[in-house]
């Protein structure tokens, strides 16, 4: 292990399962969310939303007595549209009007902002508005979106696709040489992300600072500031974005919202604080915006199970617009590069389509494209294994990138940093008595075993994102560190905590470097006025980028403290070191605490040495891993599932996750990340689905219809950690935030299909709901 300073912590540093500093306020109900903030004179907004999926908007009738309280796009003079372009060749740019203008393109699209002193009164206003529109034929399915004669959603486009990507390679000889060939057609369902707290925004104009202050439930306050600036035509200095506590993000809050822009404009226009809080109905019916993929996969293998090649044709339902900042193509265009998975795939061709449909605009949800890709690839691996008569473990073992090949560059140029993928597989399988499962199957029980192995690229930076050409490119991550006069260490970061435990892990990193007790470290975040620029928390990047930046800022701060401390100790700077929160003489004996150093700088400057750095005890440190192509954490999920063949219900009997996050900053928090992700992955696998009818109407309006698994629906789960440090990051840590949500659909459906194998039945589409299981059984029976 290379990490400098690991272990110095004495139970509070890197690698310690320190209890989360932020939990006291969360557990006592003292978190402060957008919805908790009620400034005097607050106005509430309800949005009149489109009742239809595709129509020409002819007019909005405002209630006769309330024309001054209802605002349409015609009122929002000078406000630009939302444009999230990508520089990928062939990308077609959509322009999303902040409030619909000219056309309605999905059910739930905001048309008018209705302002009142209470939300109920604002909803009354919305209900009193009338709409004049002419319905147009609807594109409700991604596969028919590009069919000849399909109605055009953006009329100046030649067809309904944001982007198509491909990689060509002639695979025509493989049929002749392969021992096995399988083709599968698979689908994942459109989902809602369902954070506990929905979106919310409060906008105010501060006349003293001449500043628009937007408090928003966002993962990316600095990016929202840039976006608001572009659309509203204000300079960034006259906008401050505050992100208070967030009740979950998951990608749902990585977006510049039309509602945010509308509220900001209203606050300036009305000179009153204006607030919009998303409710659950809006969340479900206007924001089912993720995960909907379709795959046709063909794979070839030799008789030992070695992959000879694969071909994938993938379509992602990207919805009606390109969202700022991640764009409409982030999922589909990644599929090609992540489809080879953790394997040494020798030959590959793909085509991906980001299809434009009359549905809410796609956002990248925890796991992003990987959840769908892992599902497509890993179910295909099992189908190959069944055809060859070898075990699912065996076919993976012979194809996984071996540890001695690390770092490994695969055929599409992804570079895996470190790890022992086969060992993760072996360890996972070793948790189970496979003979006993086989015996139960032989006795007629409908039970099965399923595996999924995958890796998760996280914290990928400039070199990966500059080519995408989306509105931002992550560069160096910065953190600020300073001592207060009484020696409290303040860390400021532009990353956003929405459940990751950053207030704890960054305190651990600071403790690791300076030895200040974690309780004396305050992590300040969530405010563009207080923190350095950052693209925010997404892409499993905070532990790597923030961890590195905080460590660097603390190191720089330590140098400043060292010089002052050395002087107080009457030693040469080279003769002292920082440990345990103090500057100590290397020759033993005297020490001076960092608190005393801080007190000297601020309150007793007469004791400072000549030539002291006048910058004082406040520094900014920057960090970027080199190379910055990202860390690859990886995992093997293994599950035993029992299927009730009379009801179609799937019961998860046992679940094991072996994962490798490199050097963990806090293993307890890693466990929490993995388990939280697992819950969402189980939702994707078995429960969550927003059906749309042919007219583009979402059909699940409450959480009684849109099923989200709760604690009672989750399996007892064992997590087994491996810790292979990344050679490229400050402490060897890897991004792990999304991992838990990637593996479950593949592992669970593989177990279900193992159980159904003796009936000749196979589930292809997610979620593997009871209805789909019964349908698969009936289809097999009818054959």
């Amino acid at each position: 292990m290379s990490p400098d300073g690991v272990g110095q912590g004495g139970g509070q540093g890197v690698g310690a399962s320190l209890l989360r500093k932020e939990d006291a306020r969360f557990l006592h109900g003292r978190g402060r969310y957008v919805g908790d903030i009620r400034p005097a004179g607050l106005l509430e907004v309800a949005f009149l939303r489109s009742p239809v999926a595709h129509a020409r908007l002819l007019g909005v009738g405002k209630p006769a007595d309330a024309e001054a309280r209802v605002f349409t796009m015609a009122d929002l003079a000078g406000v630009g549209g939302i444009r999230a372009a990508s520089a990928l060749p062939g990308f077609r740019v959509s322009e999303q009007s902040v409030l619909a203008s000219g056309k309605l393109r999905y059910v739930g699209e905001a048309i008018a902002a209705c302002v009142a002193s209470s939300r109920a009164a604002a909803e009354d206003l919305a209900a009193a508005c009338s709409l004049d529109y002419e319905e147009l034929p609807v594109v409700s399915d991604m596969l028919t979106a590009r069919a000849p004669g399909a109605p055009l959603i953006h009329e100046h486009w030649p067809d309904n696709a944001f982007l198509e990507t491909q990689r060509d390679e002639d695979l025509s000889d493989l049929d002749g040489i392969a021992a096995a060939k399988v083709t599968r057609q698979l689908r994942t369902a459109r989902q809602c992300m369902v954070p506990m707290e929905g979106r919310g925004v409060l906008a105010e104009w501060d006349p003293r600072l001449e500043q628009l202050v937007v408090t928003s439930s966002t993962q990316q306050p600095h990016i929202i500031r840039s976006g608001l600036s572009e659309v509203l035509g204000l300079d960034e200095g006259s906008i401050r974005v505050i992100a208070p506590d967030l009740g979950g993000g998951f990608g749902y809050k990585g977006i510049l919202l039309p509602e945010e822009i509308a509220c900001a404009w209203l606050a300036m226009r009305l000179e009153r604080p204006v607030r919009w809080i998303e409710d659950r109905l809006e969340h479900l019916t206007a924001n089912a915006n993720c995960r909907e993929h379709h795959y046709v996969v063909t794979a070839w293998a030799d008789r030992n199970g070695r992959l000879l090649g694969a071909e994938v044709d993938a379509t992602v339902d990207s919805g009606a617009y390109s969202s700022y900042p991640f764009s409409a193509c982030l999922e589909a265009a990644q599929i090609g590069s992540i489809f080879p998975g953790p394997y040494t795939l020798p030959r590959f061709r793909f085509r991906t389509v980001s299809a434009c449909t009359n549905k809410p605009p796609i956002l990248p949800y925890r796991g992003v494209a990987r959840t769908g890709v892992c599902y497509a690839l890993e179910t295909t691996m099992d189908a190959l294994a069944r055809q060859l008569g070898i075990s699912p473990a065996r076919i993976r073992e012979v194809n996984l990138v071996p540890p001695d090949a690390m770092p490994y560059r695969n055929l599409v140029g992804k570079v895996f940093d470190s790890g022992d993928y086969p060992e993760a597989l072996r360890r996972a399988v070793a948790h189970f008595d496979l003979d006993r499962i086989a015996a139960r199957q032989a006795a007629g029980e409908c039970v099965g075993f399923g595996l999924a192995v995958f890796c998760e690229q996280g914290a990928h930076g400039t070199s990966v994102y500059h080519g995408w050409g989306i509105p931002f490119v992550p560069g160096y991550e910065q953190a600020m560190a300073r001592f207060t006069p009484d020696g409290v260490l303040e860390i400021r970061t532009g990353l956003q905590n929405h459940g990751q435990g950053m207030e704890t892990t960054f305190a651990q990193v600071a403790h690791e470097v300076l030895g200040v007790p974690a309780a004396r470290v305050r992590v300040v975040h969530g405010d563009t006025a207080l923190t350095p620029y950052s693209t925010g928390t997404w892409g499993s990047r905070a532990a790597v980028m923030g961890g590195g930046a905080v460590a660097e800022a603390c190191r720089l701060l330590g140098e400043r403290a060292l010089a002052i401390g050395a002087s107080l100790l009457q030693a040469e700077p080279g003769g002292v070191e920082i440990s345990g929160g103090a500057v100590r003489r290397r020759d033993g004996g005297a020490e001076v605490t960092l608190e005393e150093v801080a007190r000297t700088w601020y309150r007793r400057p007469q004791n400072l040495p000549r030539g002291v750095d006048p910058g004082g005890l406040e520094v900014t440190g920057g960090y970027r891993p080199d190379p910055d192509t990202g860390t690859h954490s990886y995992a093997c999920h293994a599950v035993v599932a029992r299927v009730d063949t009379e009801t179609g219900e799937v019961v998860l009997e046992d679940y094991v996750i072996v994962e490798d996050a490199g050097q963990m900053l806090n293993p307890m928090i890693v466990d929490g990340q993995v388990l939280g992700g697992l819950a969402q992955g189980v939702g994707t696998a078995l429960y969550e689905e927003m059906p749309f009818d042919a007219s583009g109407q979402p059909l699940a309006g409450t959480l009684a219809d849109y099923l989200v698994p709760g604690a009672a629906e989750l399996p007892a789960t064992r997590i087994d950690h491996m810790e292979t440090p990344s050679p490229w990051t400050r402490f060897g840590q890897k991004g792990i935030g999304e991992s838990g949500a990637i593996g479950p659909p593949a592992a669970i459906v593989n177990a279900v299909n193992d159980a159904l194998h003796r009936f000749g039945a196979e589930v292809m589409d997610l979620p593997a709901s009871p209805a789909r299981v019964i349908e698969a059984l009936e289809k097999a029976r009818a054959r």
């Binding site: 209470s118 939300r119 109920a120 909803e123 009354d124 209900a127 409710d279 659950r280 109905l281 009379e646 009801t647 179609g648 219900e649 429960y687 309006g701 409450t702 959480l703 009684a704 099923l707 698994p709 709760g710 009672a712 629906e713 009871p770 209805a771 019964i774 349908e775 009936e778």
Partner: protein, 266 residues
């Protein structure tokens, strides 16, 4: 998700409550169904009549072999044993599986029945008992057999000027066997198929198949079903129109498992 404006009234006695029905107001007991419907603006009544504070709105009395459960009795009270004896044990088992405890703390047996959602628990279960719903209107009380109380999706035999006052069920002897099975993937989800079987010693066994988007179906003599659950369940379900294959599978399973549970009920 805020309700449209409505007037709220809290009548002091039953005649006053009944009188308010004429003005387009809707009654509210525990509010667990009408609350969300108001918030979603699926229901936009002129007024809401809060029944919770009426005299004898809740409580259980037993006399003459009949158990009278006031309509405002909560699921939680029934779960906690408000109804005595064998009948009480059966009803407590049903109540325990209604949604979550916070819902059961507020939701009422009468409110649920009068709301007449075919997937609701009491709607599915009560027709199994040879009992009555007690309605109160301008002319006083009348009894409606539970088996014919729910007439369609969200519609019941209550007249527009009537409120549900109570439910009357026969006290059941020890030795009564009971089987109840429903399919919910998680607590709080509405059932996708429910069946129950009631076998009182010396009487023809009764069964109900419910939660299939239609009013509950009573099988007044379930002797054949109990004798041959496989075949009879298939025959009964095959005769139901318009069920997709999955719901049909659930319906058959519900009947078979309710029979099996009644058989195993000591």
């Amino acid at each position: 998700m805020k309700p449209a404006p409505f007037t709220y009234s809290r009548p002091a006695d039953w005649p006053a409550a009944v009188a308010l029905l004429g003005g387009g107001a809707r009654p509210m007991a525990g509010g667990q169904s009408i609350g969300p419907m108001l918030n979603l603006r699926m229901a936009q009544p002129e007024g809401v009549i809060d029944l919770r504070h009426l005299p004898d709105a809740r409580g259980v009395t037993v006399s003459g072999g009949r158990c009278r459960i006031a309509a405002g009795t909560t699921h939680a009270a029934i779960e906690d044993g408000a109804v005595p004896g064998r009948l009480g044990a059966i009803l407590a088992g049903v109540a325990r599986r209604i949604a979550y405890r916070p819902v059961r703390n507020r939701g009422t047996v009468g409110g649920s029945l009068a709301h007449a959602d075919p997937a609701a628990d009491w709607v599915a279960v009560l027709p199994a008992f040879p009992g009555d719903a007690v309605a109160v209107g301008p002319a006083g009380e009348r009894r409606i057999p539970l088996a014919s109380f729910v007439t369609g999706l969200l519609s019941s035999a209550l007249r527009p000027d009537e409120l549900l006052r109570a439910i009357e069920l026969p006290v059941l002897p020890e030795g009564t066997r009971w089987g109840h099975w429903k399919f919910c993937r998680k607590p709080g989800e509405f059932s996708k198929a429910t069946a129950c079987v009631l076998a009182v010693p010396g009487e023809a066994p009764r069964a109900v198949l419910a939660a299939l988007d239609e009013p509950p179906m009573l099988i007044p003599d379930a002797t054949a079903l109990i004798a041959a659950p496989e075949e009879e369940a298939s025959r009964i379900v095959a005769a139901l129109p318009g069920l997709d294959p999955w719901r049909a599978a659930l319906a058959r399973t519900a009947l078979r498992r309710a029979v099996r549970m009644a058989g195993e009920d000591a």
